[in-house]
């Protein structure tokens, strides 16, 4: 029972290409005939949608198609020759190259163009679909139909479907036209929209349907644009989140205003560069240099932070304005040191292969892989930060010291050590942010300067002392920025965001997630 079914299926499968193959075989002898017969055979082969015709027609174009005395065909490929029908290697003896005239040449060009729709190479098929879409002729409809039936790659299918629909629109049959309009209207393609708009003048009879189809496309395009903007906003937000997280710890939790924060980010980026250079000697390690950089950058920035807190900042506790100026000076010196050591020019940090490329989400929304990674990475870092503060002994001591220093001290917590560790922790997160930024920004000595003001705005906007606020602040600012960009331009959008943030801070000086009550007044 099972066997008979299998046999039947096999038969069915064999029968389908068999019909096409017959037509292919039947058309071949024409190529060996006179120019008229050749042109006719080329046209027939071109309309077959059979990929086997492609090498034959190419060979004919290049003068590599030979005929034996019995009018069967062989293809010369360098020094070897193969039989067209069997594909077996044969002897070249007694063969004669086929010649063609201009008329045949024109036919060949057209046929090959159409045949590429069934080429084994997906890139060629995609290009052919685009080409057929551009020429838009009702003659292509059967060919496209056949190619679409064979096509398995979704993206190419979409393009072919649009090309088919656009070609149908050129038909004289109103029913076919309507079919085309309907299919175009189901797409989310700006080209399809253009085709429909163009077709309005020639088809007054189906104008309402065309208008409806255009409106449908517009709706889908708007959704896609919104999704794109949304992702860009999220991406910017993730960068801001990374840059601001460390600040949320040092400024938000400790109340230390560190203007050298951006320089710690920059140090993280340079650490990434150094780790990458160190890994160059060990080829199998090179793709993993980026993950290796994360702990390295954390350590470098954390050590710098601890040194700065113990050496300088602790002498200025309770004097925020002086701390601001002093840390600015330190940042200046860090920047200049890096400039002297590494030079002022940008350093190149490569993306590992697994971070390269672009992903296409539904609705053809392009998403670069590295930005997706950074988005995920920023959330992981946020999660780890929250976990470190909530669930570790260090986090407990840190909260104790920042809330009631004297009591914490009397309970045996070494407040100085906790201060240093907390500051080192916040600075280390800045270093980690540098690793991520090295993937999307220029690694140069002034890398950090561009982020410092935005980071402060994020922290203040979200509410000082609240990591949830930092999260919302970062993505909020990122989204608003990207939403404003299309109609205001990148620079003005930034200006608007700054002004809006200023007004917001003035309306709610303690941020979105404000702490209320007496504690907040101190």
């Amino acid at each position: 029972m099972k066997n008979t079914l299998l046999a039947f299926l096999l038969l069915l499968a064999a029968a389908l290409p068999a019909r096409a193959q017959d037509a292919f075989v039947a058309a071949l002898p024409g190529l060996a005939g006179n120019f008229n017969a050749q042109a006719e055979a080329v046209e027939r082969l071109g309309a077959l949608a059979d990929p086997r015709a492609i090498p034959v027609l190419r060979a004919l174009t290049d003068g590599r198609l030979l005929k034996r005395p019995d009018n069967t065909l062989v293809i010369r490929e360098g020094t070897t020759t193969t039989d067209v029908l069997t594909g077996a290697a044969t002897d070249a003896a007694g063969t004669e190259a086929l010649r063609i005239n201009n008329r045949v040449r024109v036919a060949l060009r057209g046929a090959l163009g159409r045949l590429q729709l069934v080429s084994p190479d997906p890139a060629e098929r995609l290009a052919a679909a685009e080409a057929v879409f551009r020429t838009r002729s009702a003659d292509n409809v059967p060919l496209l139909d056949a190619a679409l039936a064979r096509e398995t790659v979704p993206r190419i299918r979409d393009r072919m479907a649009i090309a088919l629909a656009a070609s149908r629109l050129m038909a004289s049959d109103p029913a076919a036209k309507l079919l085309g309009v309907e299919a175009l209207g189901a797409s989310a393609s700006p080209e399809a929209r253009a085709v429909l708009l163009e077709a309005r003048a020639a088809n007054p009879d189906i104008l309402p349907q065309i208008e409806a189809a255009v409106a449908a496309i517009d709706r889908r395009l708007a959704v896609r644009r919104a999704a794109e903007t949304f992702f860009q906003g999220l991406s910017l937000g993730s960068v801001l989140l990374l840059a601001a997280l460390g600040l949320a710890v040092t400024f938000g939790v400790m109340g230390v205003i560190n203007m050298a924060h951006g320089e710690f980010v920059m140090l993280g980026a340079y650490t990434t560069f150094i780790v990458q250079e160190a890994c160059r000697g060990i080829p199998w390690l090179l793709p993993w240099s980026l993950p290796l950089s994360v702990p390295a950058a954390f350590l470098v920035a954390a050590l710098c932070g601890a040194a700065m807190e113990r050496g300088l900042i602790r002498h200025l506790y309770g004097r925020p304005l002086e701390t601001l100026l002093m840390t600015f000076g330190v940042g200046m010196m860090i920047q200049q040191s890096v400039r002297l050591v590494f030079g002022a020019q940008n350093r190149e940090v490569l993306s590992p292969p697994w971070m390269q490329g672009t992903l296409l989400l539904p609705f053809d929304i392009p998403v670069t892989q590295n930005r997706l990674w950074i988005l995920a990475f920023s959330l992981v870092v946020l999660g780890l930060t929250v976990a470190a503060i909530r669930f570790t002994r260090f986090g407990l001591e840190m909260r104790a010291v920042t809330q009631k220093r004297a009591i914490a001290s009397s309970m045996g917590i070494r407040t100085g050590r906790v201060d240093a560790l907390t500051f080192a922790f916040g600075s280390g997160i800045a270093g980690i942010a540098g690793v991520a930024l090295s993937q999307i920004d220029n690694v140069s000595p002034n890398l950090g300067t561009g982020y410092i003001i935005d980071s402060f705005l994020v922290v203040v906007f979200g509410g000082v002392g609240s990591l949830a606020g930092t999260l919302v602040g970062a993505f909020g600012l990122g989204l608003v920025n990207k939403i404003l960009e299309p109609w205001a331009g990148a620079v003005l959008a930034k200006v608007f965001v700054l002004i809006a943030a200023m007004i917001f801070i003035q309306r709610r000086p303690r941020g979105l997630f404000a702490q209320k009550g007496r504690a907040a007044e101190a």
Binding site: Q515, K516, G517, R518
Partner: protein, 246 residues
């Protein structure tokens, strides 16, 4: 007695993050009255002052001075209405001299331009000197306030309060850090002031309250627990339970 305005608090509540600092507090201070307010820590004494002087906005309730709604005004406007306040922790301006501190508090036009054009007239000068004498600070007039002792800072703060010439004085723990003699002197001063002006004194020191010898309000958990003479409240069972008995 003064023909001034009366302070009227009715149903005042202040909530911080779910914590009720004031809970349906009602209090009336008549013009010229001297009122003592006592209560354990966290009873809402300072918050009550904050509400009257505009530092804290009440969550609910009415705060009137005469027929003026204080909840709609900021600190400066309330101070200019004639409500002066002495803080628990004396806060004087360390970078200015004692005399300059007094001059700053002296009742005069408060705008920037008025301050720019300000010239010390003989009358103003004599008023300041009078207050310096009253507070025993004549000798230190030219010294920076930053180098005064704690008690002297208290006196300076009281002096500044007098300079404002307020109709209602809110005095938070005026005798903390003072010697017995100074405490007595302060009590006498406050009693003398009252009559012309209304005075509300917040104090821990029951002896001092007794020395003032006027009406006492006991606060507990943000509302009035008891009110009356010092003997009355000292014999009130509830007061003994929550405050005096401890």
């Amino acid at each position: 007695m003064s023909s001034g305005r009366r302070l009227y608090l009715d149903g005042v509540s202040v909530v911080f993050d779910g914590f009720r600092a004031l809970n349906n507090l009602s209090l009336i201070v008549e013009p010229g009255e001297l009122r003592s307010v006592i209560g354990p820590n966290g009873a809402g004494k300072t918050t009550m002052m904050d509400v009257i002087t505009g530092k804290t906005r009440p969550t609910a309730g009415t705060v009137n001075f005469g027929d003026i709604d204080l909840t709609r005004m900021d600190e400066a406007a309330i101070a200019n209405l004639g409500i002066g306040r002495k803080f628990q922790k004396p806060t004087v301006f360390d970078a200015l001299t004692v005399f300059e501190n007094m001059e700053l508090a002296l009742k005069a036009p408060r705008g920037p331009l008025a301050c720019l054009r300000w010239a010390l007239t003989g009358e103003a000068k004599s008023r300041i000197e009078q207050a310096l004498e009253e507070t025993g600070l004549q000798e230190r007039a030219e010294d920076l306030a930053g180098i005064l002792s704690h008690g002297q800072r208290q006196w300076l703060e009281i002096g500044m309060l007098l300079m404002q010439d307020p109709e209602l004085l809110l005095v938070d723990e005026p005798v903390a850090g003072m010697t017995d003699a100074e405490t007595e002197h302060t009590a006498a001063l406050l009693v003398r002031i009252a009559g012309k002006r209304s005075v509300v004194v917040v104090e821990h020191d029951l002896e001092f309250v007794r020395a003032l010898g006027r009406r006492v309000t006991v606060l507990h958990e943000g509302s009035v627990l008891s009110e009356g003479s010092i003997d009355h409240v000292q014999n009130d069972q509830r007061v003994i339970e929550v405050y005096l008995g401890r």
